[in-house]
Symmetry: C2
């Protein structure tokens, strides 16, 4: 590999990029694989984008406001925190990356739960940081003492967890904030579906950062806007490594319109939660094992003819794909290769899913 006319950074030389879920470009798919919001985003977004463009797009020739101040202000208002406690990124992945760059490094350990968002190990490795991963106890219990004593400089908790869907008690978050000696990052991409956000809690602590995204709860995965809330010292450090113009004009306009239209979203989030409940009932009726979800997806372990496991999950994944239903499956991860992560879609989408699952079960 190194007979190139240049050297590759040692942290990147053997790096495997994060693999995102499939994004089919053609139509006709029931897409339940990347936890997108099943409904269109706020109708106010279109008007906001049009206003930003104007008749001749002349505004687009000018750089965006570098700090995304209006988005910071809208997020601050949404959470009831001060805008000095908010940073905005090109998706929350951008912010996760900034966290690793600012607080990770070859001499700084990063810790996370396993399974959780598979981007964390990639970002940690890119920084040359050691990554320690903790297993969950039964019923997704957090190993609180181990986390507190880990000696890591950053501990990232996905709350609710992805891919499992379970949420953690505020008492657990408080325990970690009080006892963990480092930066406690709460990745709450799925918080809109859980009735709890740690944003306000984070703003009042010296060592807690809550990261969120417009991709899941605001139906804006296509626009790449995320934000985080923390003590303003942490925000200042992240701003040092942030690209000056990381969020474009139309994305800023869309995010502000979305954050200001809480009313529109609350009804639709309730619909997702309702469909989630019905899907859980369905899986329970089949005798399938799943984590009680506080998110917009369910991690379920399918069974057929009394058996579960990797081959069964893999078979269902392939069958659903043949029915033009995409779900998420990590064949190569021994901890979760016996299950599928299924995004909660619209009522007709979930109906189609159920029918296909029943078809698969009854199939020889």
């Amino acid at each position: 590999m190194q007979n190139k006319p240049y050297k590759i950074s040692k942290n990147v030389e053997t790096l495997s990029a994060y693999t995102p879920g499939e994004q089919p470009q053609g139509g006709g798919w029931v897409k339940l694989n990347t936890n997108e919001f099943p409904y269109p985003p706020s109708p106010k977004i279109r008007a906001a984008v049009l206003a930003e463009m104007g008749g001749d797009c002349a505004s687009l020739r000018l750089y965006p406001e570098p700090l995304s101040k209006k988005v910071r202000a809208a997020a601050a208002k949404y959470y009831g925190v001060h805008e000095d406690n908010v940073i905005v990124g090109n998706g929350s992945d951008d912010i996760l990356n900034l966290i690793m760059r600012a607080f990770g490094g070859e001499d700084l350990k990063v810790a996370a739960m396993s399974p959780s968002y598979s981007l964390y190990p990639v970002l940690a490795k890119m920084q040359g940081a050691q990554l320690e991963e903790f297993d969950f106890g039964p019923q997704c219990k957090l190993p609180l003492e181990k986390i507190a004593k880990s000696g890591a400089n950053v501990f990232i908790l996905t709350n609710p967890n992805a891919p499992l869907g379970a949420a953690f008690a505020e008492a657990d978050l408080k325990y970690i904030a009080d006892n963990f000696k480092g930066l406690f990052v709460i990745d709450e991409a799925y918080a809109p579906f859980s009735n709890y956000s740690a944003a306000k809690f984070a703003a009042g602590r010296e060592n807690v950062l809550a990261v969120c995204t417009s991709s899941k709860g605001w139906g804006l995965a296509g626009m790449r806007v995320g934000w985080a809330v923390a003590d303003k010292n942490i925000i200042e450090i992240l701003d040092r490594v942030r690209d000056s113009y990381n969020v474009d004009r139309l994305a800023q306009a869309a995010a502000v319109a979305a954050l200001e239209d809480a009313e529109y979203y609350s009804g639709l989030v309730a619909k997702v939660v309702e469909e989630r409940g019905k899907a859980e009932e369905f899986f329970a009726s089949l005798g399938w094992d799943f984590c009680k979800s506080s998110s917009n997806f369910i991690f379920v372990r399918p069974r057929k003819n009394g058996a579960g496991g990797r081959d069964v999950a893999s078979e269902l994944f392939d069958f659903l794909k043949s029915e033009k239903i995409l779900v998420r499956y990590w064949k190569g991860d021994p901890k979760i290769c016996d299950g599928l992560r299924i995004t909660v879609g619209t009522k007709p989408e979930m109906q189609k899913l159920k029918e296909s699952v029943l078809k698969w079960i009854s199939k020889e």
Copy 2:
């Protein structure tokens, strides 16, 4: 600083963020400070954005195509290279960042000319890479032998140079590509104003990467889309560290529409070049020193009552600001604190600039 409950990465602890030019949010400014295109971008962009949004913005709920394939294809067609030779970023700053992450590091030296784009030192420091900066010879001559023998793993050349505006001969680029033992990065943000792009040259070499942006020559600074052309092995390495969804849906749509409308831009670029020539004549008529520009800005060293220098440049900067004309000035950089970098604007904007300069000269 380190009595915080967390440690800051040593490369970030003392980092000063890149300072972008001022982006006034109110109207009424003649904005000649950040080298934006003075005309609105292609009228086809508005239609492309509207088509991507659709009537209800439903497409925005879905993640964008992760590789920005259509933008890669449009850039490839524009330059006459293969799309495997193209990567797309959230502005070219994103790509410069990827370059530093993939090819910089604590054991890998980075080299650049000085003065040049002041983001390079920030990105190098963030990676803990040593930065070697070379001075220009008279008339912006490149120290070719020094570059070749630098032992750096990355050499970045801004061509045309910013903030000076000078372009370099293709023979010099060839010499560096042939003799420098590392990755030769040509940052050609301003190439659209110079009649020369190294993109095709880069695609045919094993160690050359040409980076460009839609911000300057395509009037899309507000949309954050940049691209780079190189050997496909280099593209593959950069894709490893690239965020999966780094460019949003509307930005991808806008960039494709811009790249496909070369005809619209060629006429407007010609107008910029014409105004640049007239501005150079004007500065020459005043007896002011400037670099012959191949870009959309002029670096000029003002004089008053027979004297030049830092105080004179600073005084003109302040005076222009009081006239609501913003130009760029680096007061703290001894190499360039005697000059101002002035973006070439529209004819009326340049007229206003001339009048204000004359007013300043005649003022006591």
